[in-house]
């Protein structure tokens, strides 16, 4: 059966709703010869699967399509128009993608990192998100806690384009607290993508599986903070296997959450030493074009950023006391100037730390 026929698509959809591991579905299709055979095998109980899976595949695809359409969820079949081309080229692309919002087809940057991130990583992730969002670069991440969330925050802050790849169905949010973040992402023209059909609950095993989609959709993978043995590092290795350019943010050598990144750098990943440098690299790679007037932050320009207070604040932010020391200014002057920048929306304050925005 040709892979672009309607019955093929319907059977693929039914298989997706079975809730089985994507690899298992893949091997079933291999065994049965085509998706229709795999559906039949599950339905008739010739495959060891939960009764719920049997029931789920029995529901006709037309009914599923209606439900999806009314929920505003688009389904993309591997090989069809609109399926992200970079993702299609990885060794094990998902057969179906459930999408809310608009999936960008051009090259994107994936940002991955630890869920238990430090302030350093979070601030940097946010800044990277803002910088790339401003340059209209599509930023792909997992909407998880920690680095993922921070990067998405940065993107929506400047109304940039972000894609969140979920480890659950497109009809729910995980973690629940990131619901509003996800909704803002959609409002800003981003997308929510998952290979799991609506109703899929966020089981732990689903997250590592979806990591290949995050890196697969992107052309460049940026690792902000990763501990050894963490999911972020697995993503980075996946990216390498998929032939992606992997960049890593260096960190303290004795900090556990920096170790993964530092190891990547040792093994050949390009270290990222600042947002300006990152953007230059992405430009050279052709991920984005040169900055236009519209892209530029209206309140600032790059030359100015390197001098005075903004230069002293640096990439990851500083406390008031640090600024006093770096600039040699009295306290009140630092406070007044910070207040000025904050009014203009150029710095933000988070628990004593002052950091640049955008």
């Amino acid at each position: 059966m040709p892979s672009d026929s309607i019955p093929y698509f319907c059977h693929r959809l039914q298989l997706a709703f079975s809730g089985l591991h994507p690899q298992r579905i893949h091997s079933l299709v291999m065994k049965a010869g085509d998706p229709a055979g795999a559906v039949h095998m599950i339905r008739t109980g010739r495959v060891k699967a939960k009764p719920t899976a049997r029931e789920a595949v029995s529901i006709p695809a037309e009914q599923r399509m209606e439900e999806l359409a009314s929920a505003g969820i688009q389904v993309l079949l591997l090989g069809s128009d609109g399926y992200p081309p970079w993702l299609a080229a990885i060794p094990d692309p998902p057969d179906l993608l459930f999408v809310k919002g608009k999936v960008p087809v051009w090259a994107a940057v994936a940002v991955v990192g630890s869920r238990r991130a430090t302030r350093y990583g979070l601030t940097l992730a946010r800044r990277v998100g803002e910088a790339m969002g401003r340059r209209r670069i599509t930023v792909v991440s997992g909407l998880a806690r920690g680095i993922d969330g921070a990067v998405h925050e940065g993107v929506v802050e400047v109304k940039g384009c972000g894609v969140a790849v979920l480890g659950c169905g497109p009809d729910r949010w995980y973690p629940v607290g990131h619901r509003s973040l996800g909704e803002r992402l959609l409002e800003c023209g981003g997308a929510v993508v998952t290979e799991y059909p609506p109703g899929t609950i966020p089981e732990p095993w689903r997250f590592p599986v979806r990591n290949r989609i995050i890196t697969g959709m992107a052309r460049v993978v940026l690792v902000v903070e990763a501990a050894v043995g963490g999911g972020a590092l697995i993503s980075a290795r996946l990216g390498l296997e998929q032939g992606r350019e992997v960049l890593a943010v260096p960190g303290d050598i004795d900090r556990a959450t920096s170790r993964g990144c530092n190891e990547l750098i040792r093994d050949g990943a390009m270290p990222v030493l600042g947002t300006a440098e990152l953007l230059e690299f992405l430009e050279a790679e052709g991920v984005c074009g040169p900055p236009t007037e519209v892209d530029r932050d209206p309140d600032s320009n790059d030359e100015k950023r390197l001098s005075g207070l903004e230069g002293a604040i640096g990439e990851v932010g500083a406390t008031v006391e640090t600024l006093m020391e770096r600039l040699g200014w009295p306290l009140s002057r630092v406070l007044v100037e910070v207040g000025q920048l904050e009014s203009q929306g150029r710095v933000a304050r988070e628990g004593g730390l002052i950091r640049l925005k955008g």
Binding site: R255, M324, L331, V336, G339, S343, R349, E350, G351
Partner: protein
Amino acid sequence: MSTRMFSAAMVGVDPRPVNVEVHLGKTNSKFGLVGLPDTAVREAQYRVKAAMASSGYEMPRSEVTVNLAPADLPKAGSAFDLPIALGVLLADGKVSMGHRGLVAVGELALDGRVRPSRGVLAAAMVAAKQGIPCLVPRAAMSEAALVPKVDLFGVDKLSEALRAMEGSVEPTAPPPSGSHASPVQDLADVRGQELARRGLEIAAAGRHHLLMSGPPGMGKTMLAKRLPGILPPLTQTEEMELACVWAAAHRGRPVSIRPFRAPHHTTSVVGLLGGGSGIPVPGDLSLAHHGVLFLDELGEYPANLVDALRQPLEEGTVTITRRGISTTFPCRALVVAATNPCPCGWRNDTVKQCQCSPAAAGRYRRRLSGPLLDRFDVRVFLGRMETEELTGAPGESTAAVRRRVEQARQMQIPRGALNGDLSSSDLDALPWDGGARQVLSYNLDRGNLTGRGYDRVRRVSRTLADLEGCELVTDTHVLEALSFRMSI
């Protein structure tokens, strides 16, 4: 034969006169005590009898009736021993009264000595009001001496009291005041933490409630303990008010030092706001009147306790009603709260990693947020210090900071309220420089400020201008004030 002596009791912070009436009847040896006495008062008859015997007098062999009036006011404690003894001896004709009237308080020991008791301050105040002299235990003279314009007799023994009553001795000179002010910890001990020190100074100058957030060991408690030292000395009126509150709590306190109260987070609402059975006693909030109430680990305080603080802080008084008695205690305390940014304390730290799960950290923050948080005009974060800061020169001394605070407070006197108490309409009426208005409206327009945040920034700006001695608030003041807003 009946006589009348005066005594006094503190009801809330109200000194109330108590008449001690003694009547000697015809029937044989009998002692009756009426007027809502508690057990301690009822036992007075034994102490009085023994003390009289030790001093060489005998209880009259007739029916002795003692009435403590007003009859409906509950009487407690041993303060009425002395007036009862004096009244009985007067009625028996053993002594004569050399004054127009006499207020007396004191507990009697069996050997005739006079011990300090409750009600000393109340007695002195009642005596001052009625223009009659007052007899107090000598050990409690310093408490009574707070009250101006009253003749005080400090007595050690019942026999001395009798001589004072006859008018044969001169009033006792009050002890020198302020001599035993205990040394205050100096602000110079705190190194680094410039932002927090500035926050402390602003809090003291305008009586703005202060919130300090930061990892453990950064000096939050150290700074809070040094806050009373940079507040201006108590005025006489303030000292009187404070003495009344402490007297109501049946506690003596070191004179002329601003109180610093740090109730633990396991304290009860009654312990914090006041209450108790019988006549209500003030809680820590009122004991910190004109001083500092320090809430360490604000996140650990149960929500009901924190909520209970809101209204009293707004009004400056707390009213407590118990079984028909309603009392109002003043509570103009400066609240300083310290909190960790998360349960483990290391969130936002630049070096150490936070170990809290995001859910736990979120719960912690949510407990802190809400209406009480809005009361904190000044919020500072205390971050990790560099080694040079810790080993460097000591900070500015308490005395230097206090001078600036005093000057700033001078500027606020004509306004009738301290800056921390200014309402929205008060703030509107103040002079604002064009630049200041511009910065404020710019931030309002951009959504950087909410309505409440707007008032907070304006109050702090006013204090910053006062600290500089400026009548007009300018844009630099507002910009600096913006830096003292902080989300946890």
